[in-house]
């Protein structure tokens, strides 16, 4: 069924060229103080930017060889990746590194010039708490279902999920479930769209969607759409482009995106664009950033808005990458 976006006003369209230019400009802002303050997100930023470019149909707008070199320059002896050279290894940047290499079809470079897939898998596996099944972000940090999802995401892309105790991790997710069908950051915590995405996606990767109360969860998720078309992350909160992605992708995973109004959501995301200079913000009229840019574009792609490559809802990567890796 093709989507009907005919009620979206004509002046709202996808500013593809502007977005490509915006993403290309991100690494040329070395004379801006913020560029230096955000170095701890460099590898994540590359993943966000590259994913957006792939979905926009401009996968080569950032030079492939440079991207691979940069990723490999962030790797530590233990296999983990830091956010940039000189930054400590962390789950979040390691997952981004794997996702980037997957998108660029460059796992062979990791074998040849990096520490190899197996070592990356070992690093991630070392962060699992074998008693509870959940994961930490690094050797110092707290445990969080975000890290569990990240581990499943990267390990499955690497074909190394067997390095961790999947059943224990699944048990942990089940313990994070709430009566409203949603999931919290840890057992006892309130349902939250971001955590729901991580838990539902992890269960999907583990092949354990049977544990999800799809009816209740679908109800909770669909109630996130509020007047104006955007989605919020929790009851009585404001709408936001990034939450819109987590809710929408979770709905997709449980087969219920038709429970919200897609055209109104598409219009909301389109209104968050900076039409002139490119980029997408959390809400209309706010400052853009690459984080909301990728989730806005991914959201539009999932809504089948014209002119975009299809996105995979579990990995937030191009469908073509996922089918190349998993052969489906």
């Amino acid at each position: 069924m093709s989507e009907d976006f005919s009620d979206i006003p004509e002046e709202l369209y996808l500013a593809t060229e502007a977005h490509v230019k915006y993403i290309q400009s991100l690494d040329t802002r070395k004379d801006e103080y913020d560029y230096w303050l955000t170095e701890h997100l460099r590898l994540n930023g590359l993943y966000w930017g590259l994913t957006a470019l792939h979905l926009l149909g401009h996968p080569d707008a950032l030079p492939r060889a440079d991207a691979i070199d940069f990723v490999l320059s962030c790797q530590h002896e233990n296999g983990g990746f830091g956010a940039a050279p000189g930054h400590d290894a962390h789950m979040l940047s390691t997952v981004s590194a794997v996702q980037i290499l997957a998108m660029l079809d460059a796992f062979d470079e990791l074998e040849k010039r990096g520490k190899g897939k197996e070592q990356v898998g070992k690093y991630i596996a070392s962060l699992q708490n074998r008693q509870t099944g959940t994961f930490a972000g690094d050797e110092w940090g707290e445990e969080d279902t975000r890290f569990l999802y990240g581990a499943f995401n990267a390990l499955s892309l690497l074909g190394l999920l067997h390095l961790v105790d999947v059943d224990k991790a699944v048990e942990h997710i089940a313990a994070c479930a709430n009566f409203d069908g949603g999931y919290g950051v840890s057992p006892g915590a309130e349902s939250h769209a971001g955590q729901i995405f991580t838990c539902v996606a992890a269960l999907t990767i583990a092949g354990r969607q049977d544990l999800i109360d799809k009816e209740r969860l679908g109800r909770w998720l669909s109630e996130r759409q509020i007047a104006g078309g955007g989605l919020n992350g929790r009851p009585e909160k404001k709408e936001d482009v990034c939450y819109s992605w987590w809710v929408l992708s979770s709905l997709e995973m449980i087969g219920k995106t038709h429970w919200i109004n897609k055209s109104q959501l598409a219009a909301f995301i389109l209104r968050c664009q900076d039409m002139e200079k490119g980029g997408i913000s959390d809400r209309p009229g706010n400052m853009v950033d690459v984080w909301h840019t990728v989730f806005g574009i991914a959201g539009l792609s999932l809504l089948k808005y014209p002119g975009l490559q299809p996105v995979n809802e579990v990995y937030c990567m191009p469908k073509s990458t996922i089918s190349r890796i998993f052969g489906r």
Binding site: D31, E32, Y33, W36, L37, T38, H40, L41, N44, A83, G86, H87, D88, L92, S126, L127, N129, R130, A136, D138, E139, W140, E142, E143, R146, Y149, G150, N153, F179, D180, G184, V185, G188, A189, E190, S191, F197, R219, S222, P235, E236, K237, D240, C242, K256, H258, W259, I260, N261, D274, S281, D282, R283, G285, N286, M287, V288, D289, W291, H292
Partner: protein, 426 residues
């Protein structure tokens, strides 16, 4: 990945063109930031020398202070600060006994990382345990004084660390790394200080969490943080006991101040099973408790029937009726006879229907009425709705479609389910 650091939330879009003066100012700030960063990086490049002695560690530590004030999101710098602090902290009596990594008193991730937080296994390989090299000739009195001195020093240092993060937290209340560092410091207090002292530090932390929740009543981090702090205060490691009554009262106060605080309602729902268990509530007490909760939510719904938070809690209470043995030991009234469950549901239907008299255009009321009707059919042996109920269901569904066309796909699926499962033709 779900990492919100560095993203812009709620900042108005302004012209991205800088004046030349602004650009110059940026360049100056960049220069001084990078000098600091380069200095620190050069020092920690070789971990063997960076933390080799107190003076080197102190220098590294001071650099992290300056850098983190400029950029609290710089997680690597927080890690460096931890490494330096492990050298600077005196090896206390607890640490000297070698139980500084006692798993039972440490909720950290020690299981997977043997070196975690243990000064004797610091990653730098060089640690401050020389303080432990006391000879046996020392008399006990001297040792006691030493211990007191060590304890005082440790306490001061940990407290200084907690204070260091406060202005950073006020500026960036959602910065994950600051919270994570705080928790690490707090854990150090458990492993390095006598229980009553550590307990005092964690108690002050609970006060901080309360303060954060007064400022932002639904701050997700602060609610989770509070749960974590309470769990620690309840643990054996801090000589604690149950705080479930006090925490339940806390949700009561929060709800009284603001009915639509879903975080507080949620917390309440999670505390109730433990509360009743610890009270040793019998069947009668449980039933009375349930009735009181129902009254509370009815009163709230009477003034705010549009409030989703209230309806979620209402759904939670209804689950208590519809979840039957043997899988309901965590409900409020697990042994309630089926007739009573049915009676409660019928009463509930009447109560919620009364709301329609004042509010006939609130979707959530119709949704609840449909849920309750089907719950009733299920409890009564999964019977089909009777003619009157069918008529009601059709009418209420029609109202939902009319009031909430945004979720039309959901209502259509629901309509189909009504036809297929319950024999309700459109």
């Amino acid at each position: 990945m779900a990492n919100q650091g560095g993203s812009q939330h709620g900042i108005a879009r302004t012209s991205r063109v800088r004046t030349e003066a602004q650009r110059q100012r940026d360049l100056e700030r960049i220069a001084s930031y990078r000098v600091l960063e380069d200095d620190l990086r050069a020092r920690v490049k070789n971990p063997r020398t960076a933390y080799a002695d107190r003076a080197s560690a102190q220098h590294v530590f001071d650099l992290t202070t300056r850098l983190l004030r400029l950029n609290p999101e710089y997680y690597t710098v927080w890690n460096i600060r931890r490494r330096a602090l492990l050298v600077l902290l005196p090896a206390g009596p607890k640490a000297r006994r070698g139980d500084c990594c006692d798993r039972s008193s440490c909720s950290c991730l020690g299981e997977t990382q043997p070196s975690h937080g243990c000064p004797k296994a610091g990653r730098s390989g060089t640690t401050a345990d020389d303080a432990g090299d006391h000879t046996s000739e020392e008399n006990d009195e001297e040792k006691k004084q030493d211990d007191e001195e060590t304890e005082k020093q440790t306490r001061t240092m940990l407290q200084t660390e907690l204070e260091f993060t406060i202005p950073l937290l006020i500026e960036s209340p959602k910065c994950y790394w600051i919270w994570s560092y705080r928790l690490w410091i707090l854990r150090q207090s458990i492993s390095r200080l006598p229980v009553p002292v550590a307990r005092g530090i964690w108690q002050a932390e609970l006060a901080l969490a309360s303060k954060m929740l007064t400022k932002d009543r639904r701050n997700f981090h602060a609610w989770g943080y509070r749960r974590h702090v309470v769990a620690q205060l309840e643990s054996d490691a801090l000589g604690g006991g149950s705080m479930v009554e006090a925490e339940f009262q806390y949700t009561e106060d929060k709800i009284r101040a603001d009915l639509s605080n879903f975080s507080a309602w949620h917390s309440r729902s999670k505390l109730i099973p433990r509360l009743l268990e610890e009270r040793g509530a019998d069947e009668k007490a449980r039933r009375e408790f349930f009735e009181a909760e129902l009254d509370k939510i009815h009163n709230a719904l009477n003034v705010g029937p549009e409030d989703q938070s209230l309806w979620y809690y209402h759904q939670y209470l209804m689950l208590n009726l519809t979840t039957l043995p043997p899988n309901n030991e965590h409900t409020i009234t697990p042994t309630l006879p089926i007739e009573d469950r049915i009676a409660f549901l019928r009463n509930e239907l009447a109560e919620i229907r009364d709301l329609l008299e004042d509010y006939d255009n609130v979707k959530l009321i119709y949704e609840a009425l449909i849920d309750l009707t089907l719950d009733l059919c299920r409890l009564e042996g999964k019977r089909k709705p009777d003619e009157e109920e069918k008529e009601n269901l059709r009418e209420w569904l029609g109202k939902m479609k009319e009031l909430d066309p945004m979720r039309m796909g959901r209502w259509r699926d629901f309509e189909e389910g009504l036809r297929r499962e319950w024999g309700v033709e459109a």
